[in-house]
């Protein structure tokens, strides 16, 4: 959270200007849309939190609520109505000893404490803290030890379509829709002038090409990496934005370490595969320094090879998760103080942070992309001494 505010204060206005300059004509409508979306959004969050947490005699636990929002889930919880959760069931796909087992998450009846048992394909399954466990043979009830760990169950391989996977597919559909219609608008026009959504997308694509790929990779080689960079940029950006939409209950996909790990892994693989002689020489036998220094530098460079993608992974994960946590924490203040009077302050603050987070969505997508491009550029740089 601290990192976000630093980022934003120092660099965000300029970056925003840089990205949106070409579409300034549209910015007014865009601003209106964003502002009204935010307005609705903030009220939704408070409403959702209110209906979920504010009605019981039980003590409100902000940590639990925040973790519930930030982590993945097996069902798409929308709202609680009359103390009954309303949610979209999602398929659960498990690889057990008996082969593939699938059933809907509604089979657990919103139970997350391991009490509800689903029998399927010769196995008994329980859900505990958003993890699916298979009870050992002959067991009929989940047994916990004093550390709240299941003692008589194993965890099968879980390929479930969780909330995050579901939202990822929604974002993919949105991306495909945006870019297919953009590509179509080019095909329709006679002289390659885009119209409609194409003219909104083009400055962003040109931004990735001219501000990220060209300066970082170089004029001759950047073309090969353009599809990857563009896809990563828009994929991260749209998932960052989707994570901020509260009605979707903050499916925190880009703040999930599995997601960022996969993307960082792809960057690592591409960097390693496109590394030329010069790149490997700089890692294993740094030219231009004395031999003892070469031996000293080699392990550092080898470690550096791995810390680069790891830092990519952690940066995106921590930035987005921190943003979600701080918004939810500010909202929790209302229920911690159990007072409506604190609500305006809380809403104002989380509105402010949400606006900052909207900028951060773009900045983090930009940083991930530009650093990937930088690593590709380092891997393909020719010797110049």
């Amino acid at each position: 959270m601290f990192v976000n505010s630093f980022n934003v204060r120092t660099f965000a206005p300029n970056l925003k200007q840089g990205i949106f300059n070409p579409v300034r004509m549209r910015i007014n409508t865009l601003k209106n849309i964003i502002l009204s979306a935010l307005f609705i959004a903030v009220f939704n969050v408070s409403f959702a939190s209110d209906s979920k947490e504010g009605d019981g005699d039980e003590k409100f636990n902000p940590n639990e609520m925040i973790m519930h929002h930030v982590k993945d889930a097996h069902e798409f919880h929308i709202i609680d109505w009359n103390k009954k959760p309303i949610s979209l069931p999602l398929p659960i796909i498990l690889w057990t000893d008996n082969g593939l087992t699938t059933f809907m998450s509604s089979g657990f009846h919103h139970d997350d404490s391991g009490k509800e048992i689903v029998e399927k394909n010769g196995g008994k399954f329980v859900k505990f803290h958003e993890k699916i466990y298979q009870l050992n043979d002959g067991e009929t009830v989940a047994v916990f030890n004093d550390k709240h760990e299941l003692t008589n169950a194993v965890k099968p391989l879980d390929f479930s379509i969780t909330r995050n996977v579901f939202m990822m597919w929604v974002s993919v559909i949105v991306l495909l829709f945006i870019f297919f219609s953009a590509a179509r608008s080019y095909k329709k026009s006679k002289n390659n002038v885009p119209s409609g959504i194409g003219s909104f997308v083009e400055p962003l694509v040109v931004f990735v090409r001219d501000e990220i790929a060209r300066p970082m990779i170089g004029e001759h080689k950047y073309k090969r990496y353009m599809p990857y960079l563009l896809t990563v940029f828009f994929f991260i950006w749209i998932n960052n934005i989707f994570g901020l939409i509260p009605i979707l209950n903050g499916a925190n996909l880009s703040g999930n370490i599995a997601f960022t790990m996969v993307l960082a892994l792809f960057t690592f693989i591409i960097t390693t595969l496109s590394g030329n002689k010069n790149y490997w020489q700089h890692i294993f036998w740094m030219p231009g320094v004395p031999v003892p220094m070469k031996i000293f530098l080699m392990p550092i460079e080898i470690i550096g090879m791995f810390t680069k993608p790891i830092s990519l992974m952690i940066r995106l994960f921590a930035n987005i998760t921190a943003g979600h946590i701080i918004i939810l924490a500010l909202m929790s203040l209302i229920f911690i103080f159990k007072s409506v009077a604190i609500a305006p302050v809380s809403v104002a603050f989380s509105l402010f942070i949400t606006v900052i987070e909207i900028v951060v969505t773009a900045i983090q997508a930009y940083i991930f992309t530009i650093l990937s491009a930088l690593y590709f550029g380092m891997a393909t740089e020719e010797a110049h001494h």
């Binding site: 973790m67 930030v70 982590k71 993945d72 796909i93 391989l157 879980d158 390929f159 479930s160 379509i161 969780t162 995050n164 996977v165 990822m168 597919w169 993919v172 991306l175 495909l176 870019f179 297919f180 953009a182 590509a183 080019y186 095909k187 002289n191 390659n192 002038v193 885009p194 194409g198 997308v201 083009e202 694509v205 040109v206 090409r209 353009m226 599809p227 990857y228 563009l230 896809t231 994929f235 999930n256 370490i257 599995a258 997601f259 790990m261 996969v262 993307l263 892994l265 792809f266 994960f317 998760t321």
Partner: protein, 164 residues
Amino acid sequence: MELVNPGFGLVFWTAITFLILLFILRKFAWKPILGAVSDREEGIKDALASAEKARQEMENLTADNERILQEARAEREAMLKDARDMKNKMISDAKEEAQAQASKMIEQAQAAIESEKKAAMAELKSHVAGLSIDIAEKVVRDELSNKDKQLKLVEGMLGEATLN
């Protein structure tokens, strides 16, 4: 701990989804969009270059026109000068010829006069000689009619002869 522990299912689905998205977008979105953008940029660059070329040509054309005009002017000048020279030359030639003709005619006239003079002189001489002979005949005949006179003549002549 759980927060920083990647779940296997999400890793699996993200990898598959991302790869599929990458391939689909590369084929159906990035290729046409980037192609169109670079085509258009090429087009603009070409248009600018051809405009520059046209401007250059225009400039060349103007320069050519200027040069042709200059040349025509120079040619006219030269032609006028030639004509003037020709005129002067013709005049002077004619003058010279006339001069030559005149002097030739004068010469011929002089020559004719000279020859006429000579002929006249010769005729005069022969005429005078004839007359003299006639006179001399008459005188001689007269003288030779008496002996005395003959002798006297001879003597006179002889005396003259000795004087010579």
